[in-house]
Amino acid sequence: MYTQALNTSDAEDRQIEDAARAGLFQARIDAEERIEPNDWMPAAYRKTLTRQISQHAHSEIVGMLPEGNWITRAPSLRRKAALLAKVQDECGHGLYLYAAAETLGTSREELVDLMLAGKAKYSSIFNYPTQTWADIGAIGWLVDGAAIMNQIPLCRCSYGPYARAMIRVCKEESFHQRQGFEIMLTLCRGSDEQKAMAQDALDRWWWPVLMMFGPPDNASQHGDTSAKWKIKRFSNDELRQKFVDATVPQAQFLGLTIPDPDMTQDEAGHWVYSPIDWEEFNQVLAGNGPCNRDRLAARRKAHDEGAWVREAAAAYAAKRSRRDVAQAAE
């Protein structure tokens, strides 16, 4: 089922990073040109993008699980349809992103196998549980809101297929974000019990969402080259600050309290948040988040239980093409 026909005939050439080509490549990047799949690119650029795009794809697919957890229990038919459509959109995002990653020369099957083997990362946020319906609102509002902050600059990423995928993804994500906010607003205008449910969700998701932007700038591994190659246009801390500044007034509008009592506003109007517990982040990345094991187990189960279906489809397609060849020969 996965794409096989990849252009690897010039793989050896591509590995050779001669200085002239690298110089031309950087000049194209500096001139804001888009790099396309068959263009020469440094091996490290290819590797960085393959890693980033496939992690992004894995995040979309693993991200289906926490929200999918509430599809069968959504509290109204309208919410049920919207949530099912939203989770389906995430699956679609995963598909475009795997396709974008494949243009760099690694098949979806290989990328998925790395994720299932626990060797590829996905966003740390999906290792937290959705305990109540309010978590569906909080994910839309905060997690998708944070994703948009990260992804809007990626619409101008130097790699063409990724940038184009991001344009479509961002449109859908901003719809999801509004939908999530609307779930929160309905809860906040509802009973005391519903409002408490909304506050509890904000309390649990706030800090993990801030961690989604990645380690602080002074500890980030990938910042410098990614910036030079115009894969990343803003630093982790810059994006995190933008997100906090955008979100605080939304929380105030909802009448919810951000779980950071020491937060203050500086003279420039930025909200200064308290130190983030990076030990928690590191533990989640190391596989020790509340749901890491469940998420991987669910993806492995779907993959393993689907193996006979994929084999049947492949066997049927092979039989069919043999029959077509035989018929053509008659």
Partner: protein, 258 residues
């Protein structure tokens, strides 16, 4: 505070609409259970698509039933505040997903019926039902095409997929007869030109099924004993579990708006 089940004035048309709405809701819910767990991403997309179509059909049918009944009910009250015995769906659609073959055979049996059914209902003298039929027919045609293609792939794929598909056909066959059944109250709607005679769809349905099953190198069971009861609220043990999940929020937080 307890949550009471709603009371329904089951006129023939309200009952008729609820039966079809319940089919669509319960099957749509079953398909939504796959979301995130399908054998491949393309199929996650397709199962969610079909589930969304069915949920949409259910919502339109419930809303129309609420309007006809004019008793203060709405789509959510019909879905969330009726107990098992008040549900009127076919036994076929409440059967658990099982493996992918079972889900696809269930979809195939139902879609082959729904495609014929909605196409015929486009001629209903009830303009609202005819409009719902026009939309649902396009969706059902896709569901039939998609599920037929899978029946053929699974039947004519590997020995394992063949055995699984055949097992699903054998197990689900007894639930297909109920689709063609109608009682006196439906008969009156047929006479009035509002409903179509589902029994008349049995022969063309069997023709579609036979063609696809034969292309798939599978066989239809010779045992023609058919289970029924869903249309009058006599359900399998599976529906109660489905509803306890579907209705958990509305039952836990009575009267809340979401």
């Amino acid at each position: 505070m307890t949550v009471a089940n709603i009371q329904i004035s089951e006129t023939p048309l309200v009952l008729y609409l609820l039966r079809r709405a319940d089919d669509a809701l319960i099957l749509g819910h079953r398909l939504s259970e796959w979301c995130g767990h399908a054998p491949m991403l393309e199929e996650d997309m397709a199962l969610a698509n079909m589930g969304l179509d069915l949920l949409g059909q259910a919502r339109e049918l419930y809303s129309y039933a609420a309007k006809i009944e004019a008793n203060g009910n709405d789509e959510d009250k019909f879905a969330y505040l009726r107990e098992v015995g008040q549900y009127r769906n076919l036994l076929l659609v409440e059967q658990p997903n099982g493996d992918f073959a079972r889900t696809m055979v269930r979809q195939f049996f139902y879609a082959a019926f729904a495609d014929l059914y909605w196409r015929a209902m486009m001629r209903s003298r009830d303009a609202s039902l005819a409009a719902i039929a026009a939309k649902s027919e396009k969706e059902s045609a896709y569901h039939l095409r998609h599920s037929s293609e899978w029946i053929v792939r699974l039947g004519d794929g590997t020995a394992e997929s063949h055995a699984r598909a055949q097992g699903a056909i054998d197990d689900l066959w007894a639930f297909t007869g109920e689709m063609f059944w109608l009682d006196d109250r439906e008969r009156a709607l047929v006479d009035a030109g509002i409903a179509i005679d589902a029994a008349s769809l049995r022969a063309p349905w069997l023709k579609t099924i036979t063609n696809v099953v034969s292309e798939a190198t599978l066989t239809l069971p010779t045992n023609n004993w058919m289970q029924q009861g869903g249309r009058s609220g006599q359900h399998s043990e599976h529906l109660g579990h489905l509803l306890s999940e579907l209705q958990s929020m509305q039952r836990t937080f009575p009267g809340a708006t979401w």
